[in-house]
């Protein structure tokens, strides 16, 4: 029976493959282009390293990231503490490693919230048009009139300092971009033939939006999400630096850099290493995002 099921699955698979041959061809070509771009590959490696480090954090660290050891405060880098210790004697290496978890959490949560709400709002606005579209677009304009960090700062200040509030603040700041993007995509997809065809078959508006238009927007939205990850990490760190973000003793990178700013001249390691970690992190996302964008740009493909 299992063999029977397996066989029919394979049959279905080969039929699916021939039906979607064009799409698969496209995908294979994209992968090829991506592989040919060394910078994107470097980006992919960096991101994978980042994710791995975040997941394997407990296995990689000897010291507890929040355990203080005041007698050894501000110890310079040594064999035992390759990144040195901070002003409360905590091992900076473990804090940096655990910090990657926090950044990853913030990034994923923010994207999850803002991308979904923004995209849905944008698609609905784009499809329904008229007054609804106008209103939604004006609202996004209003949000986009603030530089993102500034708005996030104002919202954080109002909400108070906590990791959750940071996520909410950055989420509120991020959704307008997805809404604009989704609306733009919807406008162009709307004009395509197959939408008219489906409408003439009697599909309801809800069905058209969710089963037809939304999937078309997904690739671009995903690219945008990858591209924005770097910015989210930078914004979160910026907030941490100013005094929001994760509350102590959580080892958020921005907060760590801020902690070290008074010692920067002599005990430089406190601020330096979290910054380097963040730099490579964001760099990885930007490299991959760049590569993806080049690959999917229809005019650069031959």
């Amino acid at each position: 029976m299992v063999v029977g099921k397996g066989k029919s699955f394979l049959k279905w698979l080969s039929r699916w493959k021939t039906e979607h041959e064009a799409m698969l061809d496209d995908f294979k070509y994209s992968l090829h282009l991506l592989r040919r771009s060394p910078l994107s590959m470097v980006g992919l490696i960096l991101i994978s390293a980042f994710v791995l480090i975040a997941i394997l954090a407990p296995l990689l660290t000897k010291y507890d990231p929040i355990e203080q050891d005041l007698p050894s405060r501000l110890q310079p880098p040594c064999w035992d503490n390759p990144f040195g210790r901070d002003q409360l004697g905590r091992d900076i290496l473990s804090r940096v490693i655990y910090g990657s978890r926090i950044s990853l959490r913030i990034g994923i949560t923010v994207i999850a919230i803002s991308a979904t709400t923004g995209t849905v709002l944008g698609v609905v606005a784009g499809y329904l048009g008229g007054i609804i579209e106008e209103i939604v677009m004006r609202i996004t304009d209003m949000f986009l009139a603030f530089p993102s960090l500034i708005l996030a700062m104002a919202i954080s200040a109002a909400l108070g300092r906590s990791l959750e509030n940071t996520v909410i603040a950055i989420g509120i700041v991020s959704w307008p971009r997805y809404a604009r993007l989704a609306r733009g995509l919807t406008l162009s997809v709307k004009e395509e033939q197959f939408v008219e065809a489906v409408r003439s078959l009697g599909a309801s508006r809800k069905r058209i939006i969710f089963s037809h238009i939304l999937p078309q927007c997904l690739p671009t939205i995903i690219i945008q999400a990858t591209l924005s990850m770097g910015g989210i990490i930078l914004t979160a760190a910026g907030l941490g630096f100013i005094g929001f973000g994760a509350e102590p003793p959580l080892p958020e990178w921005g907060v760590m850099i801020s902690d070290g700013r008074n010692f920067i001249m002599r005990e430089w390691w406190v601020s330096t290493f979290p910054g380097i970690a963040m730099l490579f992190n964001v760099l990885g996302f930007n490299l991959l995002g760049d590569g993806l964008r080049d690959v999917l740009d229809p005019r650069l493909r031959r």
């Binding site: 910078l39 004006r138 609202i139 304009d141 209003m142 949000f143 009139a145 603030f146 530089p147 993102s148 960090l149 500034i150 708005l151 700062m153 104002a154 919202i155 200040a157 109002a158 909400l159 108070g160 770097g230 930078l234 760190a237 910026g238 630096f241 100013i242 005094g243 929001f244 921005g254 850099i257 801020s258 070290g260 700013r261 920067i264 001249m265 430089w268 601020s271 330096t272 979290p274 910054g275 963040m278 730099l279 964001v282 760099l283 930007n286 490299l287 760049d290 005019r299």
Partner: protein
Amino acid sequence: MNFRAFVLRRLMLMLIVLFGVVTITFVISHIIPADPIGAILGPRAPDELIEKLRHEWGLDRPLHEQFINYVWNLLHGDLGKSIRTNRPIIRDLMERFPDTIELSTASMIIAVCFGIPLGIVSACRKDKIPDHVSRVFSLFGISLPVFWSGLILLMIFYYRLNWLPSPGPYSTYLRPPPVVTGFISIDSLVAGDVGLFIDHLRHMILPAFVLGFSSMASIARMTRSSMLEVLRQDYIKAARSKGLKERAVVFNHALRNAMIPTVTIIGLNYGSLLEGAVLTETIFAWPGIGSYITGAILYLDFQAVMSTTLLIAFTYSLCNLIVDILYAFLDPRIKYG
């Protein structure tokens, strides 16, 4: 639609957006915090004091009344009073805003002067070594956290190498010039104090460079992609077929078209420069609105935070308006459309 109609329409749009900005700031400052008074006075304030202030500040009024009051005050230039400095916020901002503008403008000049040539070289030598180098360089630029690079560079160039002066707008033994415009650079020249002027510029080098670096990267990238797009066009081929040498093709034909979208990026970057100012002014002890707002946050000076946010949003919107109009002006298809 002709140019004038375009400008008018864009202005109308900006006014609507500004109204929205004011509304959003209102929402943030009056609806979101559970207890704004408590946030301001701290957890140990006695209840009667809280009630008294609440009444005094009109916070027990219905929301729409509060909103109208808010807008009314804004239109009269009343941005509230700072708990920290005990002065009208608008005065604080007027004093400090020119310093931030000075720094941002210097950063922008650096960014444009280095970024555009970098982008051009990158586009013309696509996929060769200069292109790869400049792309990596640009990627570093936009991935750098500006507050971190500020700290590190300060440590290296001031503390370790002593090449650049200590943080601050000018050396501590010097006196500030009499206020004419509020811009130290201009005022010092007006007062004839060239020494101060040069000293001030020296102090501006590091912060302007740190701030300008990521804008430089972003402008280089935009210039590159814009140039590549333009170089693919038919009229470039036609220009070559006329017998134009490659250099003329790039500088006379390609660049003119490529610069148009780059101008918008410059505008958007001004916004990120304002953000960067917020993050770096404390590091460089720069007395602008950036350090003002960070100070206000630490002090829980809520009014100051909101009012400064409003000012920044207004500046950014104005910047975008100018850029949009400039874009329309530069592209004959829109100007004479």
